[in-house]
């Protein structure tokens, strides 16, 4: 490739980023309120899905506790701001810190297990958070949940205004996205993929496998907790339903739709899942059955998701064009990881 072509390519990238950025930032000024609400939902659910996608794709850790951490952050914030009426930065900071402490405990318990065992252990941990949300009625108000958590008003700027809320969320979302991407591309990311493909060999090479996996688990907890904080301040309500098994599976479905390990793909996954929900609920009450069947078909026939299917097609086209085979992408399907 000549230097000239390289420069043109850089220019093209810059132009593309500028256009996409302008569109994203200008959404509130021209999108109807309903669609802005949908965009906001897509953003916080994508942050949650990204957390799982990162762990599953890079570390081979299918953690079913991420929805629990999401809900925990939301509950802590709601309890502190509604029941204890703490002023602005405190509920948010304590929710984030508290969730990270619980994530550390969960991580310490689960990182020494692999594959299916890791999956069911994290499932049990996440379901225990759900059970506590349901049982500890004096704190969580049980099934009714806690209502009234709202975004703050700082210096006269109300973040309850959807446009302002959206801009803050967009910044946090992009920060999470680029941070996770940086982690994936760093030497640490390489080591993490090493533990995914063979934790025994990585240990033999002198890497501390538990430390690598725990670090990844803690990194992944951050977007999940932040997503929960945005979720509860936007919807104003948190109930045990947010943490339940169906929701966990919903997020897993999104991650598989978007391609496991594909961080940007989660946005597409959430978009499809939300559209699916809108369309299906129009025709039938059996939304969960439809979701379960979709999930089943996906696992059976397209385990690499929509983006995986598209990439597979692209690779096949590339191959026929240039006869030289391209190497397979490093993000393999989850079953490639060791047990």
């Amino acid at each position: 490739m000549t230097a000239d072509r390289g420069r043109r390519r850089t220019l093209l990238t810059v132009a593309l980023v500028a256009v996409v950025g302008a569109v994203l930032v200008s959404f509130p000024s021209w999108l109807p309120p309903y669609y802005l609400t949908t965009v906001i939902r897509i953003l916080f659910y994508s942050m949650l899905a990204m957390s799982l996608s990162f762990l599953a794709g890079q570390g081979g850790m299918i953690s079913l506790t991420q929805t629990g951490l999401f809900g925990l952050a939301a509950y802590v914030l709601a309890i502190l701001s509604v029941h204890y009426e703490l002023p602005f930065p405190f509920p948010l900071l304590i929710a984030l810190a508290g969730t990270l402490v619980v994530a550390l405990a969960f991580g310490l318990i689960s990182i020494r297990t692999y594959g299916t065992y890791f999956l069911i252990l994290t499932l049990a941990l996440g379901q225990i958070l759900w059970a506590i949300a349901q049982q500890w009625t004096s704190m969580t108000e049980g099934f009714d949940g806690i209502q009234g958590a709202r975004a703050p008003i700082i210096g006269g700027i109300s973040f309850q205004e959807p446009a302002n809320f959206y801009w803050v969320l967009l910044v946090v979302f992009l920060a999470c996205f680029f941070l996770l991407r940086a982690v994936v591309r760093s030497p640490f990311g390489l080591a993490l993929r090493g533990t995914r493909d063979s934790h025994v060999r990585m240990a033999a090479l002198g890497f501390s496998v538990p430390r690598i996996r725990l670090t990844a688990f803690m990194i992944a907890a951050v977007p999940a907790a932040l997503a929960g904080i945005f979720f509860v301040q936007f919807t104003g309500i948190i109930t045990p339903v947010t943490l339940d098994l169906d929701r966990t599976v919903w997020i897993l479905l999104i991650v598989i739709l978007g391609g496991v390990g594909n961080l940007g793909g989660t946005v597409i996954g959430v978009f499809i899942a939300l559209m699916f929900e809108v369309v299906v609920t129009r025709f039938t009450d059996r939304y969960l059955t439809a979701m379960g069947i979709t999930f089943l078909l996906l696992v059976l026939f397209a385990p690499n998701g929509i983006t995986g299917a598209v990439e597979g097609l692209k690779r096949r086209l590339d191959r026929s064009r240039r006869a030289t085979p391209t190497p397979a992408p490093s993000d393999g399907p989850p079953e490639r990881g060791p047990r």
Binding site: I62, A105, L108, I109, S110, R112, T113, G115, T116, Y117, L119, I120, L121, L123, A124, L125, Q127, I128, W130, A131, I132, Q135, W136, T137, S138, M139, D244, L245, D246, V249, L252, D285, R286, L288, T289, M291, G292, I293, F295, L296, V299, L300, P303, P334, E335, G337, R339
Partner: protein, 285 residues
Amino acid sequence: MITEIILVLNGLTHAGLLFVLGSGLTLAFGLMRVVNLSHGAFYLLGGYLGLTVFRLTDNWWLALLAGGLGIALLGFVLEKILLDRVRGRALPETLLTIALSIIIADVSLAIWGGFAQSIRVPAALNPRISLFGFTYPGFRFFILGIAVFIGLGLWFLLQKTKVGAAVRAGVDDRETVSALGIDIHRIFTAVFVLSAFLAGIAGVIGASFLSIQPGADGQILILSLVVVILGGLGSLGGAVVAALVTGLLLSFSRAYFPEMSFFMVFGPMALVLAFRPQGLFGKWT
């Protein structure tokens, strides 16, 4: 003192139910390396089947049989048409069972509705038993009896029969077992169906002394997972000990810390796993 005795008895009853559930789950895992996450949904559907049969025939034994056999049949069909396709790949198989559990629970909701229901145990099976000056429902001893009977039956099956020997050998080394000319796939199917049968029976028992409603599948699944993880995946003896610990803890914490009972159950699991990630009696696979 009387309260404590009642709590111990309640805990033992619960332990019996959890053992029936956990034993099937742990056996299937030990052999196939797959955790059937629709075990909770099997329990729920088994309970509903039993409920319907009981209302039609007024015969508790028939209800128990219907729940067990119905779910065994369902397990057989699902194993043949779905799980067999992804056999050997643990994660897709586990994910499939999650999808199945959601479908089963939602279809059950459509058929049986959203309110809590239970089977009224006939008086012949539920005599009032007087103990140390208080009366206690005899049905609960009966449940304990069923659990012990199933436990002994499983032990006999595993330790004293040829099929059991093949299952135990399959847990340790699948390749060698198939090389010896034993059809390991038939054994997989048999163990999965047995596990489904036990979940169905547990559903009818659960519907008789607790109640069943949407969401019961999720709760029972966590408790069975706790039993299986605590006892060690694949260990029948582990399931006995873990079911006893979990059942008693559940009973006492429901009485003394009603808002925290699930958390109390989770405590020992976390503690054990911190020192023994493979569970009390588990082997690394």
